[in-house]
Protein backbone atom coordinates (compact mmCIF):
# COMPACT_ATOMS: atom_id res chain seq x y z
CA UNK A 1 0.00 0.00 0.00
CA UNK A 2 1.19 3.50 -0.81
CA UNK A 3 2.37 5.67 2.01
CA UNK A 4 0.24 8.61 3.19
CA UNK A 5 3.03 11.03 2.34
CA UNK A 6 6.09 10.45 0.22
CA UNK A 7 8.54 13.28 -0.16
CA UNK A 8 11.30 12.64 -2.66
CA UNK A 9 14.15 14.74 -3.90
CA UNK A 10 12.64 17.89 -2.38
CA UNK A 11 14.99 20.81 -3.00
CA UNK A 12 14.31 24.36 -1.83
CA UNK A 13 16.62 27.20 -2.69
CA UNK A 14 16.78 30.67 -1.20
CA UNK A 15 18.22 33.66 -2.97
CA UNK A 16 20.66 35.49 -0.71
CA UNK A 17 23.18 38.26 -1.19
CA UNK A 18 25.89 35.64 -1.37
CA UNK A 19 24.16 33.58 -4.01
CA UNK A 20 21.55 30.82 -3.91
CA UNK A 21 21.45 28.62 -0.84
CA UNK A 22 20.01 25.11 -0.89
CA UNK A 23 18.27 25.16 2.48
CA UNK A 24 16.75 21.80 1.63
CA UNK A 25 18.72 19.61 -0.77
CA UNK A 26 17.25 16.44 -2.28
CA UNK A 27 15.38 15.52 0.88
CA UNK A 28 13.30 12.35 0.91
CA UNK A 29 11.17 10.89 3.65
CA UNK A 30 7.83 9.21 3.97
CA UNK A 31 5.09 8.88 6.55
CA UNK A 32 2.53 6.12 6.90
CA UNK A 33 -1.02 6.75 8.01
CA UNK A 34 -1.13 7.15 11.78
CA UNK A 35 2.63 7.10 12.10
CA UNK A 36 4.83 9.62 13.92
CA UNK A 37 7.95 10.66 12.08
CA UNK A 38 10.44 12.88 13.87
CA UNK A 39 12.69 15.11 11.81
CA UNK A 40 15.72 15.95 13.92
CA UNK A 41 18.49 18.42 13.36
CA UNK A 42 20.11 21.54 14.70
CA UNK A 43 19.10 25.10 13.74
CA UNK A 44 19.58 25.72 10.05
CA UNK A 45 19.58 22.05 9.11
CA UNK A 46 16.53 22.58 6.90
CA UNK A 47 13.91 20.77 8.94
CA UNK A 48 11.45 23.67 9.17
CA UNK A 49 12.04 24.64 5.55
CA UNK A 50 11.25 21.03 4.53
CA UNK A 51 7.94 21.21 6.37
CA UNK A 52 7.04 24.64 4.95
CA UNK A 53 8.04 23.43 1.48
CA UNK A 54 5.67 20.50 1.53
CA UNK A 55 2.89 22.87 2.61
CA UNK A 56 4.02 25.24 -0.14
CA UNK A 57 4.34 28.04 2.41
CA UNK A 58 7.86 29.11 1.46
CA UNK A 59 7.81 32.87 0.86
CA UNK A 60 8.69 33.44 -2.78
CA UNK A 61 10.82 35.48 -3.23
CA UNK A 62 13.33 34.74 -1.75
CA UNK A 63 12.57 31.01 -1.51
CA UNK A 64 11.70 28.60 -4.27
CA UNK A 65 11.06 24.88 -4.47
CA UNK A 66 13.29 23.88 -7.37
CA UNK A 67 12.90 20.10 -7.52
CA UNK A 68 11.24 17.07 -6.05
CA UNK A 69 7.79 15.69 -5.49
CA UNK A 70 5.44 15.52 -2.51
CA UNK A 71 2.98 12.69 -3.00
CA UNK A 72 0.11 12.98 -0.56
CA UNK A 73 -2.83 10.59 -0.89
CA UNK A 74 -1.83 9.91 -4.48
CA UNK A 75 -1.54 13.58 -5.46
CA UNK A 76 1.66 15.52 -6.08
CA UNK A 77 1.23 18.63 -3.94
CA UNK A 78 3.91 20.45 -5.91
CA UNK A 79 1.95 20.07 -9.16
CA UNK A 80 -1.56 21.08 -8.11
CA UNK A 81 -2.84 24.65 -8.43
CA UNK A 82 -2.68 27.17 -5.58
CA UNK A 83 -6.47 26.92 -5.12
CA UNK A 84 -6.26 23.13 -4.85
CA UNK A 85 -3.40 23.50 -2.40
CA UNK A 86 -5.51 25.85 -0.25
CA UNK A 87 -8.09 23.09 -0.02
CA UNK A 88 -5.41 20.76 1.35
CA UNK A 89 -3.94 23.18 3.88
CA UNK A 90 -5.74 23.22 7.18
CA UNK A 91 -8.09 20.47 6.01
CA UNK A 92 -6.08 17.35 5.17
CA UNK A 93 -2.70 18.63 6.36
CA UNK A 94 -2.55 20.94 9.35
CA UNK A 95 0.42 22.66 10.85
CA UNK A 96 1.40 23.70 14.36
CA UNK A 97 4.13 26.29 14.71
CA UNK A 98 6.95 26.89 17.09
CA UNK A 99 5.93 30.21 18.62
CA UNK A 100 2.55 30.00 20.32
CA UNK A 101 2.99 33.58 21.56
CA UNK A 102 3.06 35.06 18.08
CA UNK A 103 1.29 32.44 15.98
CA UNK A 104 -2.17 33.52 17.04
CA UNK A 105 -3.68 36.75 15.74
CA UNK A 106 -3.78 39.22 18.66
CA UNK A 107 -6.90 41.00 17.47
CA UNK A 108 -9.21 38.02 16.93
CA UNK A 109 -10.76 35.81 19.59
CA UNK A 110 -9.28 32.37 20.13
CA UNK A 111 -12.62 30.80 19.23
CA UNK A 112 -12.72 32.54 15.87
CA UNK A 113 -9.24 31.38 15.07
CA UNK A 114 -9.80 27.80 16.19
CA UNK A 115 -13.12 27.52 14.39
CA UNK A 116 -11.94 29.25 11.24
CA UNK A 117 -10.74 26.10 9.39
CA UNK A 118 -14.19 24.53 9.82
CA UNK A 119 -15.67 27.59 8.21
CA UNK A 120 -13.12 27.68 5.40
CA UNK A 121 -13.26 24.00 4.50
CA UNK A 122 -16.67 22.81 5.64
CA UNK A 123 -18.62 25.95 4.83
CA UNK A 124 -19.82 26.19 8.43
CA UNK A 125 -21.48 29.36 9.71
CA UNK A 126 -19.73 31.52 12.30
CA UNK A 127 -22.06 30.21 14.95
CA UNK A 128 -21.38 26.56 14.11
CA UNK A 129 -17.65 27.25 13.84
CA UNK A 130 -17.55 28.86 17.27
CA UNK A 131 -19.48 25.94 18.71
CA UNK A 132 -16.98 23.54 17.19
CA UNK A 133 -14.18 25.72 18.57
CA UNK A 134 -15.65 25.24 22.05
CA UNK A 135 -15.61 21.46 21.60
CA UNK A 136 -12.06 21.54 20.26
CA UNK A 137 -10.79 23.68 23.11
CA UNK A 138 -12.38 21.27 25.57
CA UNK A 139 -10.70 18.43 23.74
CA UNK A 140 -7.24 19.95 24.19
CA UNK A 141 -8.16 20.27 27.89
CA UNK A 142 -8.41 24.00 28.19
CA UNK A 143 -10.29 24.44 31.45
CA UNK A 144 -13.66 26.12 31.13
CA UNK A 145 -13.36 25.83 27.36
CA UNK A 146 -16.82 27.09 26.33
CA UNK A 147 -16.36 30.43 28.00
CA UNK A 148 -12.81 30.77 26.65
CA UNK A 149 -14.07 30.86 23.08
CA UNK A 150 -14.47 34.63 23.37
CA UNK A 151 -11.08 35.20 25.01
CA UNK A 152 -8.23 36.89 23.16
CA UNK A 153 -4.80 35.30 22.81
CA UNK A 154 -3.18 37.72 25.27
CA UNK A 155 -5.46 36.33 27.97
CA UNK A 156 -3.94 32.85 27.44
CA UNK A 157 -0.66 31.49 28.79
CA UNK A 158 1.95 30.06 26.41
CA UNK A 159 0.87 26.49 27.10
CA UNK A 160 -2.79 27.35 26.57
CA UNK A 161 -2.01 29.08 23.33
CA UNK A 162 -0.18 26.03 22.07
CA UNK A 163 -3.18 23.92 23.09
CA UNK A 164 -5.35 26.31 21.09
CA UNK A 165 -2.99 25.87 18.13
CA UNK A 166 -3.40 22.10 18.44
CA UNK A 167 -7.17 22.52 18.61
CA UNK A 168 -6.98 24.63 15.44
CA UNK A 169 -4.93 21.92 13.72
CA UNK A 170 -7.44 19.25 14.70
CA UNK A 171 -10.42 21.30 13.54
CA UNK A 172 -10.96 19.49 10.24
CA UNK A 173 -9.61 16.10 11.37
CA UNK A 174 -6.55 16.19 9.13
CA UNK A 175 -4.77 13.09 7.89
CA UNK A 176 -1.42 14.61 8.68
CA UNK A 177 -0.29 17.12 11.28
CA UNK A 178 3.05 18.81 11.01
CA UNK A 179 4.31 20.15 14.32
CA UNK A 180 7.29 22.45 13.87
CA UNK A 181 9.11 22.49 17.22
CA UNK A 182 5.79 22.77 19.06
CA UNK A 183 7.35 22.94 22.51
CA UNK A 184 10.57 24.88 22.04
CA UNK A 185 9.13 28.11 23.42
CA UNK A 186 7.46 26.49 26.43
CA UNK A 187 8.45 25.58 29.99
CA UNK A 188 9.83 22.09 30.43
CA UNK A 189 6.85 20.90 32.46
CA UNK A 190 4.42 22.25 29.89
CA UNK A 191 6.47 20.70 27.07
CA UNK A 192 5.74 17.13 28.05
CA UNK A 193 2.05 17.87 28.64
CA UNK A 194 1.72 19.34 25.17
CA UNK A 195 3.56 16.49 23.48
CA UNK A 196 1.60 13.83 25.33
CA UNK A 197 -1.62 15.57 24.39
CA UNK A 198 -0.55 15.82 20.76
CA UNK A 199 0.42 12.16 20.68
CA UNK A 200 -2.79 11.08 22.36
CA UNK A 201 -4.98 13.11 20.04
CA UNK A 202 -3.22 11.90 16.88
CA UNK A 203 -3.65 8.33 18.11
CA UNK A 204 -7.37 8.93 18.71
CA UNK A 205 -7.98 10.58 15.36
CA UNK A 206 -5.62 8.32 13.41
CA UNK A 207 -3.70 11.31 12.09
CA UNK A 208 -0.07 10.92 11.12
CA UNK A 209 2.36 13.31 12.78
CA UNK A 210 5.56 14.87 11.57
CA UNK A 211 7.32 16.13 14.65
CA UNK A 212 10.11 18.56 13.91
CA UNK A 213 12.47 18.93 16.82
CA UNK A 214 16.05 19.31 17.93
CA UNK A 215 15.31 17.48 21.16
CA UNK A 216 16.35 13.83 21.05
CA UNK A 217 14.55 13.14 24.32
CA UNK A 218 11.29 14.05 22.58
CA UNK A 219 12.18 11.79 19.70
CA UNK A 220 12.77 8.76 21.92
CA UNK A 221 9.46 9.11 23.65
CA UNK A 222 7.10 10.06 20.90
CA UNK A 223 8.40 9.05 17.48
CA UNK A 224 7.99 5.80 15.56
CA UNK A 225 10.60 6.68 13.00
CA UNK A 226 13.29 9.34 12.79
CA UNK A 227 14.98 11.27 10.00
CA UNK A 228 18.13 13.13 10.95
CA UNK A 229 18.94 16.22 8.92
CA UNK A 230 22.25 18.00 8.54
CA UNK A 231 23.01 20.98 6.28
CA UNK A 232 19.79 20.62 4.31
CA UNK A 233 20.09 16.87 3.74
CA UNK A 234 18.75 13.77 5.39
CA UNK A 235 21.79 11.91 6.71
CA UNK A 236 20.06 9.02 8.45
CA UNK A 237 16.59 7.52 8.62
CA UNK A 238 15.35 4.60 10.66
CA UNK A 239 13.03 3.46 13.37
CA UNK A 240 13.37 5.42 16.59
CA UNK A 241 14.68 2.25 18.25
CA UNK A 242 17.38 1.67 15.61
CA UNK A 243 18.48 5.29 15.65
CA UNK A 244 18.92 5.07 19.40
CA UNK A 245 20.46 1.65 19.70
CA UNK A 246 22.55 1.60 16.55
CA UNK A 247 23.09 5.09 15.13
CA UNK A 248 24.98 4.62 11.88
CA UNK A 249 25.89 8.16 10.91
CA UNK A 250 28.71 9.87 12.80
CA UNK A 251 26.56 12.99 13.17
CA UNK A 252 23.72 11.02 14.77
CA UNK A 253 26.24 9.39 17.05
CA UNK A 254 27.57 12.80 17.95
CA UNK A 255 24.06 14.00 18.78
CA UNK A 256 23.48 10.96 20.99
CA UNK A 257 26.76 11.52 22.79
CA UNK A 258 25.85 15.04 23.79
CA UNK A 259 22.48 14.17 25.32
CA UNK A 260 22.28 12.87 28.88
CA UNK A 261 20.59 9.47 29.10
CA UNK A 262 19.11 7.70 32.08
CA UNK A 263 20.40 4.32 30.94
CA UNK A 264 24.03 5.34 30.68
CA UNK A 265 26.97 4.63 32.94
CA UNK A 266 27.06 7.10 35.78
CA UNK A 267 29.79 9.68 35.62
CA UNK A 268 30.19 9.47 31.85
CA UNK A 269 30.95 12.84 30.33
CA UNK A 270 28.74 14.38 27.67
CA UNK A 271 30.72 14.80 24.46
CA UNK A 272 29.97 17.88 22.35
CA UNK A 273 30.38 17.76 18.56
CA UNK A 274 33.50 19.73 17.61
CA UNK A 275 33.37 22.63 15.22
CA UNK A 276 30.55 24.81 13.92
CA UNK A 277 27.41 24.04 11.95
CA UNK A 278 28.27 24.52 8.28
CA UNK A 279 27.76 27.72 6.33
CA UNK A 280 25.22 26.76 3.68
CA UNK A 281 26.64 29.25 1.19
CA UNK A 282 30.03 27.54 1.33
CA UNK A 283 29.42 23.82 1.65
CA UNK A 284 32.41 21.56 1.00
CA UNK A 285 32.25 19.46 -2.21
CA UNK A 286 32.08 16.21 -0.27
CA UNK A 287 30.10 15.27 2.83
CA UNK A 288 28.88 18.39 4.64
CA UNK A 289 29.75 16.82 7.99
CA UNK A 290 33.30 15.86 6.97
CA UNK A 291 35.01 18.89 8.59
CA UNK A 292 33.59 17.90 11.99
CA UNK A 293 33.71 14.15 11.60
CA UNK A 294 36.10 11.95 13.58
CA UNK A 295 36.01 9.16 10.96
CA UNK A 296 36.65 11.33 7.93
CA UNK A 297 38.34 9.67 4.94
CA UNK A 298 39.81 11.00 1.70
CA UNK A 299 36.63 9.97 -0.12
CA UNK A 300 34.39 11.95 2.27
CA UNK A 301 36.13 15.16 1.21
CA UNK A 302 35.71 14.52 -2.52
CA UNK A 303 32.36 12.85 -2.94
CA UNK A 304 28.93 13.43 -1.48
CA UNK A 305 27.47 10.24 0.05
CA UNK A 306 23.95 9.23 -0.99
CA UNK A 307 21.28 7.97 1.38
CA UNK A 308 21.62 4.18 1.12
CA UNK A 309 19.96 1.31 2.96
CA UNK A 310 21.92 -0.47 5.65
CA UNK A 311 19.19 -3.06 6.23
CA UNK A 312 15.92 -3.23 8.12
CA UNK A 313 14.56 -0.02 6.58
CA UNK A 314 17.49 1.89 8.04
CA UNK A 315 19.21 4.35 5.70
CA UNK A 316 22.34 6.46 6.05
CA UNK A 317 24.36 8.87 3.97
CA UNK A 318 27.92 7.99 4.97
CA UNK A 319 30.83 6.09 3.39
CA UNK A 320 32.24 4.89 6.66
CA UNK A 321 31.19 1.57 8.13
CA UNK A 322 30.94 2.90 11.63
CA UNK A 323 30.22 -0.42 13.33
CA UNK A 324 33.39 -1.93 11.90
CA UNK A 325 35.54 0.96 13.01
CA UNK A 326 34.18 1.50 16.49
CA UNK A 327 37.15 -0.37 17.95
CA UNK A 328 39.68 2.02 16.42
CA UNK A 329 38.18 5.15 17.83
CA UNK A 330 37.77 6.32 21.33
Amino acid sequence: MAKLLEVSGLTTSFRTERGPVMAVDSVSFDVDAGETLAIVGESGSGKSVSALSLMRLIPNPPGEIVAGSVMFEGQDLLKITEAEMRAVRGDRIAMIFQEPMTSLNPSLTVGMQVGEPVMLHRGASWKAALERAGELLARVRIPDARSRVDAYPHQFSGGMRQRAMIAMALACQPKLIIADEPTTALDVTVQSQILSLLKELTRETGAALILITHDLGVVARYADRVSVMYAGRVVETGTARDIYKRPQHPYTQGLMACVPRLDQVLGRRLVPIDGQPPDLTRLPPGCAFAPRCGWVTERCLQERPSLDPVGNGHLKACFVDVDARVGEHV
Binding site: S103, L104, S107, Q113, Y152, H154
Partner: protein, 318 residues
Protein backbone atom coordinates in the same frame (compact mmCIF):
# COMPACT_ATOMS: atom_id res chain seq x y z
CA UNK B 1 -13.80 53.95 30.21
CA UNK B 2 -15.91 56.82 31.58
CA UNK B 3 -13.21 57.74 34.09
CA UNK B 4 -10.70 57.74 31.26
CA UNK B 5 -12.80 60.09 29.14
CA UNK B 6 -13.34 62.43 32.09
CA UNK B 7 -9.64 62.48 32.83
CA UNK B 8 -8.86 63.26 29.21
CA UNK B 9 -11.43 66.06 29.18
CA UNK B 10 -9.92 67.55 32.34
CA UNK B 11 -6.52 67.47 30.67
CA UNK B 12 -8.08 69.70 28.01
CA UNK B 13 -8.20 72.61 30.45
CA UNK B 14 -4.46 73.38 30.80
CA UNK B 15 -3.93 72.69 27.08
CA UNK B 16 -6.60 75.15 26.07
CA UNK B 17 -5.46 77.71 28.63
CA UNK B 18 -1.97 77.82 27.16
CA UNK B 19 -3.37 77.77 23.64
CA UNK B 20 -5.66 80.72 24.41
CA UNK B 21 -2.82 82.77 25.95
CA UNK B 22 -0.58 82.14 22.96
CA UNK B 23 -3.28 82.88 20.42
CA UNK B 24 -4.48 85.96 22.26
CA UNK B 25 -1.05 87.50 22.56
CA UNK B 26 0.36 86.53 19.14
CA UNK B 27 -2.51 88.02 17.12
CA UNK B 28 -1.79 91.31 18.80
CA UNK B 29 1.82 91.06 17.70
CA UNK B 30 0.99 91.01 14.00
CA UNK B 31 2.48 94.20 12.59
CA UNK B 32 -0.07 96.79 11.61
CA UNK B 33 -2.92 96.80 14.08
CA UNK B 34 -6.64 97.17 13.51
CA UNK B 35 -6.61 100.86 14.39
CA UNK B 36 -4.19 101.61 11.52
CA UNK B 37 -6.40 99.63 9.19
CA UNK B 38 -9.59 101.36 10.25
CA UNK B 39 -8.00 104.75 9.94
CA UNK B 40 -6.52 104.09 6.51
CA UNK B 41 -9.75 102.55 5.20
CA UNK B 42 -12.02 105.25 6.45
CA UNK B 43 -9.67 107.97 5.30
CA UNK B 44 -9.75 109.63 8.67
CA UNK B 45 -6.83 111.96 9.18
CA UNK B 46 -4.48 110.09 11.51
CA UNK B 47 -4.85 112.43 14.39
CA UNK B 48 -3.79 111.26 17.83
CA UNK B 49 -7.22 112.02 19.28
CA UNK B 50 -9.07 109.81 16.77
CA UNK B 51 -6.72 106.97 17.42
CA UNK B 52 -7.23 107.08 21.17
CA UNK B 53 -10.98 107.40 20.78
CA UNK B 54 -11.08 104.36 18.50
CA UNK B 55 -8.89 102.32 20.87
CA UNK B 56 -11.11 103.19 23.80
CA UNK B 57 -14.24 102.34 21.83
CA UNK B 58 -12.88 98.92 20.91
CA UNK B 59 -11.51 98.27 24.38
CA UNK B 60 -7.96 98.06 23.07
CA UNK B 61 -6.66 100.78 25.36
CA UNK B 62 -6.67 98.42 28.33
CA UNK B 63 -3.52 96.51 29.31
CA UNK B 64 -3.31 93.19 27.43
CA UNK B 65 -3.94 91.05 30.55
CA UNK B 66 -7.12 92.97 31.31
CA UNK B 67 -8.24 92.42 27.75
CA UNK B 68 -7.40 88.71 28.07
CA UNK B 69 -9.32 88.19 31.29
CA UNK B 70 -12.29 90.15 29.99
CA UNK B 71 -12.28 87.92 26.88
CA UNK B 72 -11.73 84.57 28.63
CA UNK B 73 -14.16 85.57 31.39
CA UNK B 74 -16.85 86.24 28.81
CA UNK B 75 -16.30 82.81 27.30
CA UNK B 76 -16.26 80.95 30.60
CA UNK B 77 -19.12 82.80 32.27
CA UNK B 78 -21.50 83.56 29.43
CA UNK B 79 -20.20 81.51 26.50
CA UNK B 80 -19.65 84.85 24.82
CA UNK B 81 -16.67 84.99 22.48
CA UNK B 82 -17.07 88.72 21.97
CA UNK B 83 -18.05 90.51 18.79
CA UNK B 84 -16.31 91.27 15.56
CA UNK B 85 -14.55 94.63 15.79
CA UNK B 86 -15.77 95.55 12.33
CA UNK B 87 -19.31 94.35 12.06
CA UNK B 88 -20.24 93.90 15.71
CA UNK B 89 -21.56 90.43 14.93
CA UNK B 90 -21.34 87.82 17.67
CA UNK B 91 -18.22 85.77 17.03
CA UNK B 92 -19.64 82.53 18.39
CA UNK B 93 -22.80 82.91 16.32
CA UNK B 94 -20.74 83.37 13.20
CA UNK B 95 -18.51 80.39 14.07
CA UNK B 96 -21.46 78.12 14.77
CA UNK B 97 -23.02 79.12 11.47
CA UNK B 98 -19.86 78.31 9.55
CA UNK B 99 -18.54 75.34 11.55
CA UNK B 100 -20.79 72.70 9.91
CA UNK B 101 -19.54 73.59 6.43
CA UNK B 102 -15.91 73.36 7.46
CA UNK B 103 -16.52 70.08 9.28
CA UNK B 104 -18.35 68.70 6.29
CA UNK B 105 -15.47 69.62 4.01
CA UNK B 106 -13.00 68.14 6.50
CA UNK B 107 -14.85 64.85 6.85
CA UNK B 108 -15.38 64.55 3.12
CA UNK B 109 -11.64 65.13 2.60
CA UNK B 110 -10.81 62.57 5.28
CA UNK B 111 -13.17 60.09 3.67
CA UNK B 112 -11.49 60.61 0.30
CA UNK B 113 -8.07 60.30 1.92
CA UNK B 114 -8.98 56.96 3.51
CA UNK B 115 -10.67 55.38 0.50
CA UNK B 116 -7.66 56.36 -1.59
CA UNK B 117 -4.91 55.57 0.91
CA UNK B 118 -5.98 52.30 2.50
CA UNK B 119 -6.71 50.24 -0.64
CA UNK B 120 -3.60 51.52 -2.42
CA UNK B 121 -1.47 50.97 0.69
CA UNK B 122 -2.76 47.42 1.11
CA UNK B 123 -2.31 46.63 -2.57
CA UNK B 124 1.21 48.04 -2.58
CA UNK B 125 2.09 45.86 0.40
CA UNK B 126 0.64 42.57 -0.81
CA UNK B 127 2.18 43.15 -4.25
CA UNK B 128 5.45 44.52 -2.92
CA UNK B 129 7.98 45.43 -5.63
CA UNK B 130 5.64 44.76 -8.54
CA UNK B 131 4.64 47.46 -11.04
CA UNK B 132 1.38 47.93 -9.08
CA UNK B 133 3.38 48.77 -5.98
CA UNK B 134 5.61 51.20 -7.90
CA UNK B 135 2.53 52.87 -9.38
CA UNK B 136 0.92 53.20 -5.94
CA UNK B 137 4.06 54.60 -4.40
CA UNK B 138 4.60 57.05 -7.27
CA UNK B 139 1.02 58.24 -6.87
CA UNK B 140 1.62 58.88 -3.20
CA UNK B 141 4.90 60.71 -3.81
CA UNK B 142 3.21 62.95 -6.39
CA UNK B 143 0.45 63.75 -3.92
CA UNK B 144 3.04 64.57 -1.32
CA UNK B 145 5.09 66.72 -3.66
CA UNK B 146 2.33 68.69 -5.35
CA UNK B 147 0.64 71.10 -2.96
CA UNK B 148 -3.15 71.01 -2.76
CA UNK B 149 -3.50 74.76 -3.26
CA UNK B 150 -1.67 74.52 -6.58
CA UNK B 151 -3.96 71.75 -7.84
CA UNK B 152 -6.93 73.71 -6.56
CA UNK B 153 -5.87 76.80 -8.45
CA UNK B 154 -5.18 74.83 -11.63
CA UNK B 155 -8.58 73.18 -11.41
CA UNK B 156 -10.18 76.61 -11.17
CA UNK B 157 -8.09 78.23 -13.89
CA UNK B 158 -7.53 75.73 -16.70
CA UNK B 159 -11.07 74.53 -17.36
CA UNK B 160 -12.02 78.19 -17.52
CA UNK B 161 -9.31 78.91 -20.11
CA UNK B 162 -9.85 75.76 -22.19
CA UNK B 163 -13.57 75.19 -22.09
CA UNK B 164 -14.85 78.33 -20.49
CA UNK B 165 -16.21 76.44 -17.47
CA UNK B 166 -15.39 77.03 -13.87
CA UNK B 167 -16.71 75.56 -10.63
CA UNK B 168 -19.78 77.20 -9.16
CA UNK B 169 -18.74 79.97 -6.81
CA UNK B 170 -22.18 80.61 -5.42
CA UNK B 171 -22.42 78.49 -2.32
CA UNK B 172 -25.28 76.01 -2.10
CA UNK B 173 -26.14 75.34 1.56
CA UNK B 174 -26.71 71.73 2.59
CA UNK B 175 -30.11 72.57 4.02
CA UNK B 176 -31.35 73.88 0.67
CA UNK B 177 -29.90 71.32 -1.72
CA UNK B 178 -27.98 68.45 -0.07
CA UNK B 179 -26.86 66.81 -3.31
CA UNK B 180 -25.86 70.07 -4.91
CA UNK B 181 -23.98 70.97 -1.75
CA UNK B 182 -22.08 67.67 -1.65
CA UNK B 183 -21.25 67.94 -5.34
CA UNK B 184 -19.98 71.45 -4.80
CA UNK B 185 -17.73 70.36 -1.94
CA UNK B 186 -16.64 67.18 -3.73
CA UNK B 187 -13.91 68.84 -5.76
CA UNK B 188 -12.13 70.66 -2.92
CA UNK B 189 -12.61 67.57 -0.71
CA UNK B 190 -11.07 65.36 -3.39
CA UNK B 191 -8.07 67.65 -3.81
CA UNK B 192 -7.53 67.98 -0.08
CA UNK B 193 -8.17 64.26 0.47
CA UNK B 194 -5.73 63.00 -2.14
CA UNK B 195 -2.97 65.25 -0.85
CA UNK B 196 -3.66 63.99 2.69
CA UNK B 197 -3.72 60.40 1.46
CA UNK B 198 -0.01 60.33 0.63
CA UNK B 199 1.31 59.84 4.16
CA UNK B 200 -1.59 57.60 5.17
CA UNK B 201 -0.93 55.39 2.16
CA UNK B 202 2.75 55.06 3.00
CA UNK B 203 1.89 54.27 6.61
CA UNK B 204 -0.69 51.65 5.58
CA UNK B 205 1.81 50.03 3.23
CA UNK B 206 4.58 49.93 5.81
CA UNK B 207 2.32 48.55 8.53
CA UNK B 208 0.84 45.94 6.18
CA UNK B 209 4.33 44.77 5.23
CA UNK B 210 5.17 44.54 8.90
CA UNK B 211 2.01 42.60 9.72
CA UNK B 212 2.38 40.27 6.73
CA UNK B 213 5.70 39.10 8.15
CA UNK B 214 4.08 38.06 11.44
CA UNK B 215 3.78 34.43 12.50
CA UNK B 216 0.00 34.61 12.73
CA UNK B 217 -0.22 35.41 9.03
CA UNK B 218 1.72 32.23 8.32
CA UNK B 219 -0.77 30.43 10.58
CA UNK B 220 -3.60 31.91 8.52
CA UNK B 221 -2.00 30.67 5.30
CA UNK B 222 -1.50 27.23 6.84
CA UNK B 223 -5.25 27.06 7.48
CA UNK B 224 -5.86 27.21 3.76
CA UNK B 225 -7.12 30.76 3.63
CA UNK B 226 -7.29 32.74 0.41
CA UNK B 227 -5.51 36.05 0.14
CA UNK B 228 -8.55 38.27 0.40
CA UNK B 229 -9.85 36.72 3.60
CA UNK B 230 -6.34 36.78 5.00
CA UNK B 231 -5.91 40.49 4.28
CA UNK B 232 -9.35 41.58 5.41
CA UNK B 233 -9.73 39.42 8.49
CA UNK B 234 -6.19 38.87 9.71
CA UNK B 235 -3.91 41.63 8.46
CA UNK B 236 -5.83 44.87 7.99
CA UNK B 237 -7.12 45.26 11.50
CA UNK B 238 -3.67 44.93 13.03
CA UNK B 239 -2.13 47.17 10.40
CA UNK B 240 -4.68 49.96 10.86
CA UNK B 241 -3.93 50.73 14.52
CA UNK B 242 -0.98 53.06 13.77
CA UNK B 243 -2.82 54.42 10.73
CA UNK B 244 -5.63 55.61 13.01
CA UNK B 245 -3.06 57.40 15.17
CA UNK B 246 -1.77 59.12 12.08
CA UNK B 247 -5.26 60.32 11.19
CA UNK B 248 -5.48 61.99 14.58
CA UNK B 249 -2.14 63.67 14.06
CA UNK B 250 -3.23 64.88 10.65
CA UNK B 251 -6.29 66.67 12.05
CA UNK B 252 -4.52 70.08 12.25
CA UNK B 253 -3.17 69.63 8.71
CA UNK B 254 -6.67 68.79 7.58
CA UNK B 255 -8.08 71.95 9.17
CA UNK B 256 -5.26 74.02 7.68
CA UNK B 257 -6.10 72.48 4.32
CA UNK B 258 -9.76 73.42 4.57
CA UNK B 259 -8.74 77.06 5.20
CA UNK B 260 -6.91 77.07 1.86
CA UNK B 261 -9.61 75.20 -0.04
CA UNK B 262 -12.34 77.47 1.31
CA UNK B 263 -10.36 80.43 0.05
CA UNK B 264 -9.80 78.98 -3.44
CA UNK B 265 -13.33 77.64 -3.93
CA UNK B 266 -15.03 80.49 -2.05
CA UNK B 267 -16.74 78.25 0.50
CA UNK B 268 -18.16 80.18 3.45
CA UNK B 269 -16.64 78.06 6.19
CA UNK B 270 -14.51 78.91 9.21
CA UNK B 271 -11.38 78.94 7.10
CA UNK B 272 -12.58 81.78 4.93
CA UNK B 273 -13.77 83.59 8.04
CA UNK B 274 -10.36 83.16 9.65
CA UNK B 275 -8.50 84.38 6.61
CA UNK B 276 -10.65 87.48 6.34
CA UNK B 277 -10.34 88.12 10.06
CA UNK B 278 -6.55 87.89 9.95
CA UNK B 279 -6.31 90.30 7.06
CA UNK B 280 -8.56 92.74 8.91
CA UNK B 281 -6.90 92.15 12.30
CA UNK B 282 -10.28 91.27 13.76
CA UNK B 283 -8.84 89.96 17.03
CA UNK B 284 -11.93 88.42 18.68
CA UNK B 285 -12.76 86.51 15.50
CA UNK B 286 -9.22 85.19 15.09
CA UNK B 287 -8.89 84.08 18.70
CA UNK B 288 -12.39 82.59 18.70
CA UNK B 289 -11.74 80.52 15.59
CA UNK B 290 -8.39 79.34 16.90
CA UNK B 291 -9.89 78.30 20.21
CA UNK B 292 -12.64 76.32 18.49
CA UNK B 293 -10.09 74.68 16.17
CA UNK B 294 -7.95 73.81 19.20
CA UNK B 295 -10.88 72.16 20.96
CA UNK B 296 -11.72 70.26 17.76
CA UNK B 297 -8.17 68.96 17.34
CA UNK B 298 -7.97 67.78 20.93
CA UNK B 299 -11.38 66.11 20.73
CA UNK B 300 -10.50 64.39 17.46
CA UNK B 301 -7.41 62.96 19.09
CA UNK B 302 -9.45 61.79 22.06
CA UNK B 303 -11.80 60.01 19.64
CA UNK B 304 -8.80 58.46 17.93
CA UNK B 305 -7.47 57.18 21.24
CA UNK B 306 -10.87 55.75 22.12
CA UNK B 307 -11.08 53.98 18.77
CA UNK B 308 -8.00 51.90 19.65
CA UNK B 309 -10.27 50.00 21.99
CA UNK B 310 -12.28 48.84 18.98
CA UNK B 311 -9.23 47.75 17.02
CA UNK B 312 -6.94 46.37 19.67
CA UNK B 313 -8.43 44.04 22.29
CA UNK B 314 -5.39 44.58 24.51
CA UNK B 315 -6.33 48.22 25.04
CA UNK B 316 -8.56 48.77 28.04
CA UNK B 317 -9.24 52.25 29.35
CA UNK B 318 -8.87 52.71 33.04
Amino acid sequence: MRAYVIRRLLALIPTLFFASVIVFSTVRMIPGDIIDLMISQNDISAGGADREKLEAALGLDQPIYTQYFRWIGGILLRGDFGSSLWQEQSVIGEILARLPTTFQLGFMALFVALIVAVPIGVWSAIRQDTWGDYLGRSFSIINLAVPGFWIGTMVMVFPAIWWGVSPEVKFVPFSEDPIGNILQLALPAAILGTSLSAITMRMTRTMMLEVLRQDYIRTAWAKGMNERTMVVRHALRNALIPVVTLIGLQAPILIGGTVIMEQIFVIPGMGLMLLEAVSRRDYPVITGVFLVVGVAVVLINLLVDLSYGLLDPKVRYR
